[in-house]
Structures are given as structure tokens and as C-alpha cells.
């Protein structure tokens, strides 16, 4: 049979998460087909066609898919499901929204956020926010899988897969798009950033977060926060990194004035390199830090900024 990957895109640009999900798909079933569903989204399909190891692109270009609503998107995936023994999506907001709907209608379980495929039916996935790893076997039914994109390398480009246009499926008419408000921040998205700098209760106030912002601007980093900083009202709670917030795994994570509660560690401990700046030398954050600096952050951050200026 074959694997179908649901592409993540914004109707013009293909998200790198797609290329990562393709890599995961090749370990589950081949050939790999990619479904690009959206509106006025041919350019995203063309980008997907360049991914190596993708045999075919299915393009469904219709206004009903413009905003990727789960109800019509799931109908489309279900209309194609018969030809595939595995259906995958990156574990993005869209993938997580759409795929369980597909799985339930097919009466199969979903395997969420796989970290690795040990074989075509044995998968590793994180539980307890990555504090434990579960190995599961899925045999005897169609596999519906979301992929933790930070765990897979992106499929290389250089291919030239055919693009086949397919008609839209029915719209169940349960939902309609009203509007969207996407952050036009100069800073990268917290979960996609290569560098994240987070502040904790040690910052002491909302105003002091400017010290973090200055360094973030200089490094092109996203800004995160501990639950303590969010609860204290220093930053809005969409900045929270931790078990009940965002799970991040950047190349570099800088924790400033964060003690390292279990809750927080769960959200960032898969980062490639961790830096901790804290004046309490016994703070648990130092147990996971590659580079630790025991210092008063109100002196260390301005010094850090000055050192960055000197190249």
C-alpha cells in the first residue's frame, strides 16, 4: 500500500513540518503521497513536489479548505483513506485538530506525536510531557499518526513528483471560519524558533522582561517564560514553556531566573543546548544545563548584551 501525508502550509508556503513528516512516513509505508489541501495553494503543492521520496502530490484546491477547518478537511482525508495503510500529519495545530477526527471515523486509534519508528508498526512516543517514553505496537489496522517534528530530519529537496488535482469532498456544514489574528511579530514562533530565551520569577516584574527582549532581538530568539512568571503576570500565558504550556526543543535554550521546577523542565529538556543563569547555585535548572552561570541576572543580562555587541 502507501502512506499519505497531510501537508502543513499557509496556502502559499509549505511549512518545513511537512518535509519532516515525510521522513517519518517513509519508515511506515511507501510510496509516500502528500495531500495539499487549501485554497489558491498550487505554489505550496509545487514546493511539496520537490521533496525527495515523495511519489505524488494530491492537490485539492477549493475555498472550503482555505482555513483548514477540521470538519471538511477530515472528510477529504477520509475520502482518500481507502488507498492508504498509513495516514500521517505533522503534530502542528492543524494536524492535531484534524487527524483524531479521521482516526475515530475509521474506528482506529491514533498514535500521537511519534518520536521514532523502530519498524513499520512499532513507535516511540512521549508521555508525561516527555518524562517517560512509551513504545507501542500498532498491528492489524490502518495507522493514523501525528509526528513530533523536532524528532525527524526534513526530507531533502531535489525531487519532481507529479501533481494530481483532485476534487473536494463534501463539507459537513458544521463550522465556518470567522477570522484570524496571526501574530506579525518580528520574533520567531516559540515552538519553531532555533533559539529560545525564557524568563522566570527571578525577573521580578513585567518591566524587567525588557532585559530578555533586548537579547532576544539581538539573537533572533523567541521569548518564553516559566509558569511562575506567567502566574505573577509578567507575561501572557501563551509564552509559558512547560508541561501545561508549550513544549519546545530549540538548538539553544537560555533559562534566566528560572529555578527549574519539574513543570518547566518537562517543556524544554529536549533542547539541544541549555544555558541557565540563576543566582541560586543549588537551583535544579543547573542539573540539566550544558552551561551554567551563577550570577545576579540584573548584572549578567546587560553584560551578556554587551558581549553580544562585540563581535
Amino acid at each position: 500500500m502507501a502512506a499519505l501525508v497531510l501537508a502543513e502550509h499557509n496556502n502559499s508556503l509549505l511549512d518545513e513540518a511537512t518535509a519532516k513528516a515525510v521522513t517519518a512516513a517513509t519508515k511506515v509505508s511507501t510510496p509516500v503521497h502528500v495531500l495539499v489541501a487549501g485554497y489558491d495553494c498550487r505554489s505550496a503543492a509545487e514546493q511539496a513536489s520537490k521533496l525527495l521520496r515523495v511519489e505524488k502530490i494530491l492537490l485539492s484546491d477549493d475555498p472550503r479548505y482555505a482555513n483548514f477547518l477540521a470538519e471538511p478537511m477530515a472528510e477529504l482525508v477520509l475520502s482518500l483513506a481507502g488507498s492508504y495503510d498509513a495516514i500521517l500529519a505533522p503534530a502542528t495545530a492543524n494536524g492535531k485538530n484534524i487527524l483524531p477526527r479521521v482516526a475515530a471515523t475509521l474506528d482506529v486509534p491514533q498514535i500521537s506525536e511519534i518520536l521514532a519508528a523502530e519498524s513499520s508498526d512499532i513507535f516511540l512516543r512521549p508521555i508525561y510531557a516527555g518524562n517517560a517514553i512509551q513504545k507501542v505496537e500498532a498491528k492489524g489496522f490502518k495507522k493514523v499518526i501525528t509526528v513530533r517534528v523536532s524528532a525527524f530530519a526534513a526530507a531533502a529537496s531535489g525531487g519532481a513528483a507529479a501533481i494530481e488535482s483532485i476534487p473536494p469532498a463534501g463539507d459537513p456544514g458544521l463550522s465556518r471560519f470567522v477570522d484570524e489574528n496571526l501574530t506579525r511579530s518580528e520574533r520567531p514562533e516559540l515552538t519553531a524558533a532555533k533559539i529560545v530565551i525564557s524568563g522566570g520569577r527571578g525577573l521580578q516584574s513585567k518591566d524587567n522582561f525588557v532585559l530578555i527582549e533586548r537579547i532576544a532581538d539581538r539573537l533572533g530568539a523567541a521569548i518564553g517564560a516559566s509558569r511562575a512568571a506567567v502566574d505573577a503576570g509578567f507575561v501572557p500565558n501563551d509564552r509559558q514553556v512547560g508541561q501545561t504550556g508549550k513544549i519546545v526543543a530549540p538548538e539553544l535554550y537560555i533559562a534566566v531566573g528560572i529555578s527549574g521546577a519539574i513543570q518547566h523542565l518537562a517543556g524544554m529538556k529536549d533542547s539541544k543546548v541549555i544555558v541557565a543563569i540563576n543566582k541560586d547555585e543549588s537551583a535544579p535548572i543547573f542539573n540539566v544545563a550544558d552551561f551554567g552561570l551563577v550570577a545576579d541576572l540584573f548584572e549578567a543580562l546587560p553584560e551578556f548584551e554587551r558581549a553580544l555587541q562585540q563581535s
Partner: protein, 248 residues
């Protein structure tokens, strides 16, 4: 309009989980258990809808062992009117949970189901979407804002890079994200009152549902441990190290 709020009993978010030596799972013995934090937000949202006159009755439902009754009492103390405990001793997958909840919905006929976007134990993030699919209802996942109108509910959702607002026909399923609200603490009088609120006991068999798991868990193991690295003496030294490693 009735609002159904499914809640789950999980290891408290402040507890460090320990993997059992035989790798069969996570040790739950003598560990503090609490209501799943996202479900607590769901209960709060339902109570606020009732306070605004949008909801007439709030029914909390949980599936689990007898001790899961405590989780229902937490929901009742926050303001739910009555509880349903679907007794189940063995492991369940999200699909099995969704099938049981579908049966509860067919019996109770709620106008809205509000539940956490995921449980912080298995981290699946599936039940709300699966329940909506099985009922052929619309779904508003990862909700940051909920507004009930006539026959419709507006849900502002946390999506990658911002917010998206959708309008769903009622009945519908809503899954909560962190930003939706800040749950209240139950007052002592309300905790006392909650003890007297009714809890109905059921089983999956009562609903005619086969909720047997389909995935086979081969093992549960600890992730690779991180080691602490080097201590530095100044921020300037730190910048030097990061440049050396090509990180900045």
C-alpha cells in the same frame, strides 16, 4: 442548555513521575493525584457559562477507578451540578473514552461538551476531536475564548502563530487551552455542598460500549538523562562558549 464536562484523574502536575523498574508503566502507587489541569479549565468555563445564564445544568463525567470520584467532587465543588462516574479499572485509549462519552451524550443530550485539550499523563490530545467525529458534531479545539450565541458557539482557537475564530453549530465539542480562563479555588462551603451533590455510577457495559485498547504498549522507559555541564564565571565567557559551538 446542558453542558457536559468530562474530567480525568491524573498524577498531579507538580509530581515527578517514576517509571516502574519492570518498564510496564509509570508508578501510580502513593502518588498525589489531581484533576487534569486542562479539564479544570473546562469546568471553570462551564461554570462561567452557567453564571452568564447560557448553561442550565453542568454534568461532570469521569471514567476510571472508584477513586476518580474525588476528581468529580473537585468539579462539583467548583460548580458542576451532578456527576457521572463510569467505573473502569483497566487502561483505556482515547478512542475507547470517546466511545463511552458518545454514549453519555446520546443519553444526556448536552448542547455543549467542554473538555481539556489533552490529559497531562498520556498527552494524546485526541478525545475531544474523536468525540466530535463520532457524534458528527463540529469541534472547537484549543479554545482561548468561547461565546455562546443562539444555536451557535464562537470559539477562538490557539493555532500556530496566533488565533483563529470559528463558529460552530450547536451541539458542539470544545477543547480548552491554557489561555481560556483561570480556574477558581473552591470555597470551603462549596466543598461541603459538593459532598451532597449526586453522582451516578455506571460502567462501559451499561452503555453497550467495547472500549478495549487496540495499541499494545510494549514498554515504558525513562528518557535519556541530561547531565549538568560546565559552570562559567561571566556572561562574556558564556557568549564566547556559545560562539565557539556555533550556536549564536
Amino acid at each position: 442548555m446542558k453542558v457536559l464536562v468530562p474530567v480525568k484523574r491524573v498524577i498531579d502536575f507538580n509530581v515527578a513521575v517514576r517509571v516502574k523498574a519492570d518498564r510496564s508503566g509509570v508508578d501510580l502507587a502513593n502518588v498525589k493525584m489531581s484533576i487534569n489541569p486542562f479539564d479544570e479549565i473546562a469546568v471553570e468555563e462551564a461554570v462561567r457559562l452557567k453564571e452568564k445564564g447560557k448553561a442550565s445544568e453542568i454534568i461532570a463525567v469521569t471514567i476510571g477507578p472508584a477513586a476518580a470520584q474525588e476528581t468529580l467532587r473537585t468539579a462539583l465543588a467548583m460548580g458542576a451540578d451532578r456527576g457521572i462516574l463510569v467505573k473502569h479499572e483497566t487502561e483505556l485509549e482515547p478512542l475507547g473514552v470517546a466511545k463511552i462519552l458518545r454514549a453519555v451524550c446520546l443519553e444526556e443530550q448536552p448542547g455543549l461538551v467542554i473538555l481539556g485539550k489533552q490529559a497531562i499523563d498520556d498527552d494524546c490530545n485526541q478525545v475531544g476531536q474523536m468525540l466530535a467525529a463520532l457524534l458528527s458534531w463540529g469541534q472547537g479545539t484549543f479554545a482561548a475564548k468561547v461565546e455562546v450565541h443562539d444555536g451557535e458557539v464562537g470559539v477562538t482557537r490557539e493555532v500556530d502563530g496566533g488565533l483563529q475564530t470559528v463558529a460552530l453549530k450547536l451541539p458542539a465539542v470544545i477543547s480548552t487551552d491554557l489561555r481560556l480562563n483561570e480556574p477558581r479555588y473552591a470555597s470551603l462551603p462549596n466543598i461541603m455542598k459538593a459532598r451532597k451533590k449526586p453522582i451516578a455510577e455506571k460502567t462501559a457495559a451499561d452503555y453497550g460500549v467495547d472500549a478495549a485498547p487496540r495499541l499494545k504498549v510494549l514498554e515504558v522507559r525513562e528518557p535519556e538523562k541530561r547531565r549538568s555541564g560546565m559552570r562559567l564565571t561571566s556572561a562574556a565567557e558564556l557568549v564566547g562558549k556559545l560562539r565557539e559551538r556555533g550556536l549564536i
